[in-house]
C-alpha cells in the first residue's frame, strides 16, 4: 500500500472495464492511437512541405512544385480527417464506457453493501462509506474518462515524437531528453511539496468544517446564551489557519504549470541556438534518415516537435495527481466490493400455513395469520412443517462486540408464546444487544438461542428477520411519502392496510393534519416531523408487517405518556397471543409485561412480574420509586 493504493488495483480496474466493455475498449484504444499518430504527423508534414515544396519552389517557381504541394496537402487532409473521426469516435464511446463503468461500480457496491453484516456499519464511519460513493467514484470518473485516454495518447505521442526526432537528428534529440529529464524531476519535486501542503490544507479544512457543523447544529443554543461573539472569535482563528494553509498549497499548485512551460521554452531556445550553430558551421547531422547537412527545414520541424513534446510532458505531469487519486479511489471501491458478506448457513424457512384436519400444517401462499417453519431434509428430500409459536429460549449466552469486552454475560431467558417480555436497565446494560442476537444482527456460536426449538443458526436469516417485527431505538425514515414509509413494512400492503396500521399506532390523526395527509413527502429522515411523530410512523411501519414476534426497542420514548398508552393498547390488541419484547426507559411502558428482566452490566440481576419485583424490593423497586437512577 502506498498513498492508499492497493497493489494490483490498476490491472484490476482495467480488467473490470474490459469485462463490461471489451469491444468498445478495443475500438477506443485503436481510435486513440490513430488520433495520436495523426496529430504527431502534423510536424512531419511541415518538414516535407518546407523541404520538398518551399525550398525547391523558391528556386524553380510555383509551377514546378504545384503537384507535389497538392499531393502533400491531400495526404495530410486524409490523415487529419482520420484523426478527427477517431477523436469523435473515442470520446463518444468513452462517454458510454465511463458512465457505464461507474454505474457498475455503484451497483456492485450497493448490492454488496446490502449483504454486509451490521458489524461493518458499526466499524466504518458512515461519512467514509458515503465518500466512497461520491468522492471515490468521482475520482475514478476522472481517471477513466480523462486521465486514461490522455495518458494513452500522450504515451503514443511521446514515443512517436521521439522516433521522429531520432529520424531527423540524434544530437538534437539528446538535448530534448536532457530537458525532459529536468522537467520530470522538477515536476516530482513540486508534486511532493504540493502534496504535503495539500494534506495540511485538507486537515485544516476538515477542522473548520467540523467546527462549522457543530456550531450550525448548536446555533440555537448559541443564541440562547448570547455566545455569538465568542464563536466568531473561535471561527476566525480556524479560518485564518485554513487561509494560510490553502494559500501555500495553492501557490505550489499554481506555479508548477508556468515552470514546466518555461523549461519547455528554454529547451526551445537551446535547440534553436544549437541548431543554428550547426547550420552555420555546416555540421554533420546524424539521424535515422541518415547523415547529411543540417537544414533549416529539419530545425523548423524539430522545434515544432520539441514544443509538442514539452507540452505533452507538462500536460501528463498534471495528470499524475489525478491518477493517484483515481487509483486510491478504485482501491477503496474494490475494498468495499471485496468485503465479506454476512454469513448465512440457515436452511429453515418461514411460510404461511393452514391447519389440516388432522392437525398437521400445510403451506399456502396467502396470509393466514398462521406461520410455519419449513424444514427441508436433504437425506430423503422431504419437508416437514412445524408451527411458529414465538417460543424463544436463550441459554447461557455470552457476547461481546469485540474480544476485549463482554457485553452480555451468561444470559438465560425463556419467552413463552404470547408473553410480553421487558428489558430494563441502564444505557449500555445490554438490552439492545439481546434483541440484536435474536434477529442475528450479530452471530453467536451455535445452539444457545432457540426459536420454537430450532437453533436460530439453522433458520435462514431473511426468514428469521421476517418473523420478527422490530421498532428500533433510532427512527430511520426514507425519502418518500408517509404512505411509502408505512408500506415499507409490507410492500404489497393496500392503502387501507397502511391506514389501519397508522390508526393502530395512533398516527392517523396527525398524518391527516399534514399538508398532503398520507401523500406528504418526507425528506431528510422525516426532518419536518417531531421525534414523537417519527416514532409513531415507525410503529405503524412495523404494525403493517403484522409479524408473529415483535421487538419494541425504546419505541415510544419520545411520545407523551397519554399517546403512549393509546399506542400500547393498539399494539397489545395486534399482538394478542404473540410474543413481544419491550425495551423501555420509562417503567410505565413495561409495567404490564409478563416478565421483566432487569439488566446490569450485561447480567440479568432480577426477573419477575412488576408485582413480584416490587415485592422483592430490589433494584427494580428502587428504580420504580425513583431512588435509583437509570443512566
Amino acid at each position: 500500500m502506498k498513498n492508499g493504493i492497493k497493489k494490483g488495483t490498476f490491472s484490476r480496474l482495467i480488467k473490470y472495464i474490459f469485462s463490461h466493455y471489451k469491444i468498445q475498449m478495443i475500438v477506443v484504444i485503436a481510435a486513440i492511437i490513430i488520433n495520436a499518430l495523426a496529430s504527431a504527423s502534423a510536424t512531419f508534414f511541415l518538414q516535407r512541405l518546407i523541404d520538398e515544396c518551399v525550398t525547391p519552389g523558391l528556386e524553380q517557381g510555383l509551377g514546378a512544385v504545384w503537384s507535389k504541394l497538392l499531393s502533400i496537402l491531400i495526404t495530410m487532409g486524409t490523415i487529419y480527417l482520420l484523426g478527427i473521426i477517431a477523436s469523435g469516435t473515442y470520446t463518444r464511446i468513452m462517454a458510454t464506457v465511463t458512465q457505464g463503468t461507474l454505474k457498475h461500480f455503484r451497483d456492485d457496491m450497493f448490492v454488496k453493501m446490502q449483504t454486509l453484516p451490521i458489524k461493518y456499519f458499526d466499524t466504518h464511519a458512515h461519512g467514509d462509506i458515503m465518500s466512497t460513493y461520491t468522492n471515490d467514484v468521482d475520482a475514478i470518473r476522472q481517471l477513466i474518462g480523462q486521465s486514461m485516454p490522455l495518458v494513452i495518447q500522450s504515451t503514443i505521442s511521446i514515443v512517436s515524437i521521439i522516433c521522429m526526432m531520432m529520424y531527423f537528428s540524434f544530437q538534437l534529440t539528446l538535448i530534448v531528453i536532457v530537458f525532459s529529464a529536468l522537467m520530470v524531476t522538477v515536476a516530482r519535486k513540486f508534486a511532493g511539496a504540493s502534496a504535503k501542503y495539500m494534506t495540511e490544507q485538507q486537515k485544516s479544512l476538515a477542522k473548520e468544517e467540523g467546527f462549522i457543523e457543530e456550531m450550525m447544529e448548536g446555533q440555537k443554543v448559541i443564541k440562547v446564551f448570547c455566545h455569538e461573539e465568542e464563536s466568531k472569535k473561535a471561527f476566525v482563528k480556524l479560518n485564518d489557519q485554513l487561509f494560510h494553509d490553502g494559500d501555500t498549497a495553492n501557490r505550489y499548485g499554481n506555479m508548477l504549470m508556468p515552470i514546466l512551460a518555461n523549461i519547455g521554452n528554454l529547451m526551445y531556445v537551446v535547440i534553436s541556438i544549437v541548431g543554428a550553430v550547426m547550420v552555420f558551421l555546416g555540421a554533420k547531422n546524424f539521424g535515422l534518415s541518415g547523415g547529411g547537412l543540417v537544414t533549416a527545414g529539419i530545425i523548423v520541424s524539430f522545434l515544432d516537435m520539441a514544443r509538442q513534446f514539452s507540452q505533452t510532458i507538462s500536460q501528463t505531469s498534471m495528470q499524475v495527481s489525478m491518477i493517484a487519486m483515481g487509483l486510491a479511489g478504485a482501491s477503496r471501491v474494490f475494498g468495499l466490493i471485496d468485503e465479506k458478506s454476512e454469513a448465512d448457513e440457515g436452511y429453515v424457512s418461514l411460510v404461511n400455513a393452514e391447519r389440516n384436519e388432522d392437525g398437521t400444517l400445510r403451506e399456502v401462499d396467502r396470509h393466514t395469520g398462521l406461520w410455519a417453519w419449513k424444514h427441508p431434509h436433504s437425506a430423503d428430500n422431504t419437508v416437514t412443517y412445524s408451527e411458529l409459536k414465538g417460543d424463544i429460549v436463550m441459554e447461557h449466552v455470552d457476547f461481546g462486540y469485540n474480544d476485549k469486552k463482554l457485553v452480555l454475560k451468561d444470559i438465560s431467558l425463556y419467552a413463552k408464546p404470547g408473553q410480553k417480555i421487558a428489558f430494563v436497565g441502564a444505557t449500555g446494560a445490554g438490552k439492545t444487544t439481546i434483541t440484536n442476537l435474536i434477529n442475528r444482527f450479530y452471530d453467536i456460536p451455535d445452539g444457545k438461542i432457540r426459536y420454537d426449538g430450532i437453533n436460530i443458526g439453522k433458520i435462514k436469516k431473511p426468514e428469521l428477520r421476517r418473523s420478527l417485527g422490530i421498532v428500533l431505538q433510532d427512527v430511520n425514515l426514507f425519502t418518500g411519502t408517509v404512505m411509502d414509509n408505512i408500506r415499507y413494512g409490507k410492500l404489497n400492503a393496500t392503502d387501507e392496510e397502511c391506514i389501519a396500521a397508522a390508526k393502530l399506532a395512533n398516527a392517523d390523526s396527525f398524518i391527516r393534519r399534514l399538508p398532503d395527509g398520507y401523500n406528504t413527502m418526507l425528506t431528510g429522515n422525516g426532518s419536518s416531523l417531531s421525534q414523537g411523530q417519527r416514532q409513531l410512523i415507525s410503529i405503524a411501519r412495523a404494525a403493517v408487517a403484522d409479524p408473529p414476534v415483535m421487538i419494541l426497542d425504546e419505541a415510544t420514548s419520545s411520545i407523551d405518556t397519554r399517546t403512549e398508552a393509546l399506542v400500547q393498547k393498539g399494539m397489545d390488541n395486534l399482538m394478542k397471543g404473540r410474543t413481544v419484547f419491550v425495551i423501555a426507559h420509562r417503567l410505565s411502558t413495561v409495567k404490564n409485561s409478563d416478565a421483566i428482566m432487569v439488566l446490569d452490566h450485561g447480567r440479568i440481576i432480577e426477573r419477575g412480574t412488576h408485582d413480584e419485583l416490587i415485592q422483592q424490593k430490589g433494584t427494580y423497586f428502587q428504580l420504580y420509586t425513583g431512588a435509583f437512577e437509570l443512566e
Binding site: S87, I222, L472, G626
Partner: protein
C-alpha cells in the same frame, strides 16, 4: 446578477492588491509568451544567414524572456492563490458572522444542513471559480488578441484565416455548452438524490435488514443509478463533440496556412512570408484555438459557481428577522411575565396559528409547570419569552416591559432557556459551563452543578471539571447532559429560568432534588418547567395543560385533580400502579 457580483466583490477587501496583481502578471506572461514565437521565427530565419553572433544575441534575449515569463507566471500563480483563498476566507467569515446574527426564524428558514453546505461546498466552488477567472479569464482573451495581432504583423492576409475561424469555433463550442449546461443542471439533481438514498440506506441499514428489504433497496438503487447513467451518458455524448470539433479547426487552419503559406513564400520569393514566419503562424494558430477551448472551460466553471454564489448571497443579503432595538432597555426589573392576547405562527404563510389568544399572568418567583401532548406548542410558548421568536399578535411583557423594547442580549441573559434539544460543545465541562458566564469562578461553577445535581457525577470523572466533552456530547449520558445544560443556564443567574423538557432523562428522585434546590436557592427566579411527567410539575404554583396551541386547563395540582380533566387523566395513568401498591 448584479447584486451577486457586487456582494461577492465586497468580500475581496484586503486582497484587492493580489486580485489586481495576479491578472497583471498574467498579462505580462502572456505578452512574453506571444513575443517568444516571433523571436524564435527570427532565429530560424537567421539560420540561413551568415552571422552566428546575431543568433546568439537572439538566443540570450530568448533565454531572458523565458526566465521572465517563468517569473511572471510564478508570481501570477502566487497572487492568484492568495487572492482566491483570501476571498474564500472573507466570504466564509462574512457568512459565519451573518449567521450568528440570525434569529431562530432565519435558522429554521435556511435549515442547519443547508447553512453548512453554503459555508463549505459553495464557498469552495466560488474560490475555484475566482482563481480561474483572475488567471484564465484574463489570459485567454489576451492570448487570442495578442496572437491575432502578432499574426497580422507577420502577414495580414494569412491572419485573416484566424478571423474567420475564431468566431466559427466559438459558435460551436459555446453552442455545445449552452445545450449541455441545462441538462447537467437537471441531472445533478438526480445524482444528488441518488447519493441521498445511499446515505439513507447506510444510516437505516438496521431497518433495511430488520424488514428484509435488501432486494427491494437494491432494485430501487439500480433503477436510480441506471437513470443517472443514461442521463449522464447522453449529456456527455453531446459534450464529446467538443474535442473533435476543436481538432477539426486546428487541422483546417494548419492546412490553410500551409497551403497559402507555401504558395505565398514561393510566389513572393520569401518577401511576404518566410519559412520561420510560417512556423510561427502555425504556433499562433494553435495558441488561439487552445485559448478558445480554455475560455469555454472557464465559462462552464463560472456558470457552475454562479449557483453557489447565489446561495451565498442569499444568506449574506438576508436581513435578520429579529433585531435588537437601538438603545434597548438593559435592565430587567423582575421575573414577572404577562401574555396579553398573544397569538403566534411560525411563518406568514402558515394558515394555522401555533398559539392562539394566550393570556397568562406569572408573578416573579412563581413556578409554572406546563404539560401537554406532542405538538401542543408548549415549546413555542416559552420561546417567545426570551424573544427567540416574535409574537404575531398581542403583547408579551417581562418585568413589566414589552420584550421588544429590551436590548436582546440583556433580555436573553435574564431569561435563561434550557432547550429541548440540548447541546454541549466539544471542550471541557468547565468551558461548556462558562458559556453561562465567561468570568465564573471554579467555586461558582461547582455551586451551580450542585444545584443541578451534576457535581456528584462530575467529581467521579477522572478529570473532573476538566473532562473533555466530545462533539455532540457523546461521552456523557442523556441525563448527565441535561443536568450540565441546566447548570450552564443557572450560571447566568437569570430572573427567569425555563426548562423545556430538560429532565426527561433524569430519574424522578434527582428530578425532585433539582426542583428542591431551585426552591431553596433561587426563590426569586421565575421558573417555567415543561415536562412529560406530572411528578415534575405537581408542586408548581400554576400548572398549564396545553392542547393544540391553547391552554385548556390551568390551576394548581389540587385544583386540576378536582377538575377531573386531562391533567387528572395523565396523572392517573402515570401513578395508578403506585397507588395500588
Amino acid at each position: 446578477m448584479n447584486t451577486i457580483i457586487s456582494t461577492i466583490a465586497r468580500c475581496v477587501r484586503q486582497y484587492k492588491k493580489e486580485s489586481l496583481l495576479a491578472p497583471l502578471f498574467v498579462t505580462l506572461e502572456v505578452i512574453l509568451e506571444c513575443a517568444m514565437p516571433l523571436a524564435m521565427a527570427d532565429v530560424i530565419d537567421k539560420m540561413t544567414g551568415n552571422s552566428l553572433s546575431e543568433i546568439i544575441k537572439l538566443g540570450i534575449a530568448l533565454v531572458i524572456m523565458a526566465m521572465l515569463s517563468l517569473f511572471f507566471g510564478a508570481m501570477a500563480g502566487r497572487f492568484s492563490a492568495t487572492a482566491s483563498t483570501g476571498l474564500a476566507k472573507n466570504i466564509r467569515q462574512d457568512l459565519f458572522f451573518k449567521i450568528q446574527d440570525f434569529a431562530f426564524t432565519d435558522i429554521d428558514k435556511f435549515s442547519t444542513s443547508s447553512l453548512v453546505t453554503r459555508l463549505t461546498t459553495d464557498v469552495t466552488n466560488v474560490q475555484n471559480a475566482y482563481q480561474m477567472i483572475i488567471r484564465l479569464a484574463v489570459r485567454t482573451p489576451l492570448m487570442i488578441i495578442f496572437s491575432v495581432i502578432m499574426s497580422f504583423s507577420i502577414n495580414p492576409k494569412m491572419a485573416m484565416i484566424f478571423l474567420i475561424i475564431i468566431p466559427l469555433l466559438m459558435l460551436i463550442l459555446f453552442g455545445i455548452i449552452f445545450t449541455v449546461m441545462p441538462i447537467f443542471k437537471r441531472i445533478f439533481k438526480k445524482y444528488d438524490a441518488m447519493n441521498n438514498s445511499v446515505q439513507e440506506n447506510i444510516s437505516g441499514i438496521r431497518v433495511v435488514k430488520a424488514f428484509v428489504r435488501e432486494t427491494h433497496e437494491q432494485e430501487k438503487f439500480t433503477t436510480a443509478s441506471e437513470n443517472v447513467r443514461a442521463d449522464f451518458t447522453a449529456a456527455e455524448k453531446i459534450l464529446a463533440f467538443n474535442s473533435p470539433s476543436m481538432i477539426l479547426f486546428v487541422y483546417t487552419s494548419i492546412m490553410l496556412i500551409s497551403y497559402f503559406g507555401a504558395t505565398t513564400i514561393i510566389s513572393s520569393h520569401s518577401a511576404e512570408l518566410t519559412t520561420g514566419e510560417l512556423s510561427s503562424l502555425i504556433t499562433y494558430g494553435i495558441q488561439i484555438l487552445m485559448a478558445i477551448m480554455m475560455l469555454s472551460m472557464v465559462f462552464v466553471m463560472t456558470s457552475m459557481a454562479v449557483e453557489s454564489s447565489e446561495r451565498i448571497v442569499e444568506v449574506l443579503t438576508h436581513e435578520s428577522s429579529l433585531k435588537s432595538p437601538e438603545n434597548g432597555i438593559k435592565e430587567v426589573k423582575d421575573g414577572s411575565i404577562v401574555f396579553d392576547n398573544v397569538s403566534f405562527k411560525y411563518s406568514k404563510h402558515s394558515s394555522k396559528n401555533a398559539l392562539e389568544n394566550i393570556n397568562l399572568d406569572i408573578k416573579s418567583g412563581q413556578t409554572v409547570g406546563i404539560i401537554g401532548g406532542t405538538g401542543s406548542s408548549k415549546s413555542s410558548l416559552i420561546q417567545l419569552i426570551s424573544r427567540l421568536y416574535d409574537v404575531t399578535e398581542g403583547t408579551l411583557t417581562v418585568g413589566g416591559v414589552d420584550v421588544k423594547k429590551y436590548d436582546l442580549q440583556s433580555l436573553r441573559d435574564n431569561v435563561a432557556v434550557v432547550l429541548q434539544k440540548n447541546i454541549l460543545f466539544s471542550g471541557t465541562i468547565k468551558e461548556n459551563l462558562r458559556w453561562g458566564n465567561k468570568n465564573a469562578t471554579d467555586e461558582q461553577i461547582e455551586h451551580v452543578c450542585k444545584l443541578a445535581q451534576a457535581d456528584e457525577f462530575v467529581q467521579q470523572f477522572p478529570d473532573k471539571y476538566d473532562t473533555y466533552i466530545e462533539q455532540g456530547g457523546t461521552n456523557v449520558s442523556g441525563g448527565q447532559k441535561q443536568r450540565l445544560c441546566i447548570a450552564r443556564a443557572l450560571l447566568k443567574k437569570p430572573k427567569v429560568l425555563i426548562l423545556d423538557d430538560s429532565t426527561s432523562a433524569v430519574d424522578t428522585k434527582t428530578d425532585a432534588l433539582i426542583r428542591k434546590a431551585f426552591r431553596e436557592e433561587i426563590p426569586d427566579t421565575t421558573k417555567i418547567i415543561i415536562a412529560q411527567r406530572t411528578s415534575s410539575i405537581s408542586d408548581a404554583d400554576i400548572i398549564l395543560v396545553m392542547e393544540d396551541g391553547h391552554i385548556v386547563e390551568r390551576g394548581n395540582h389540587d385544583e386540576l385533580m378536582a377538575l377531573n380533566g386531562i391533567y387528572r387523566e395523565i396523572y392517573d395513568s402515570q401513578n395508578k400502579a403506585k397507588e395500588e401498591d
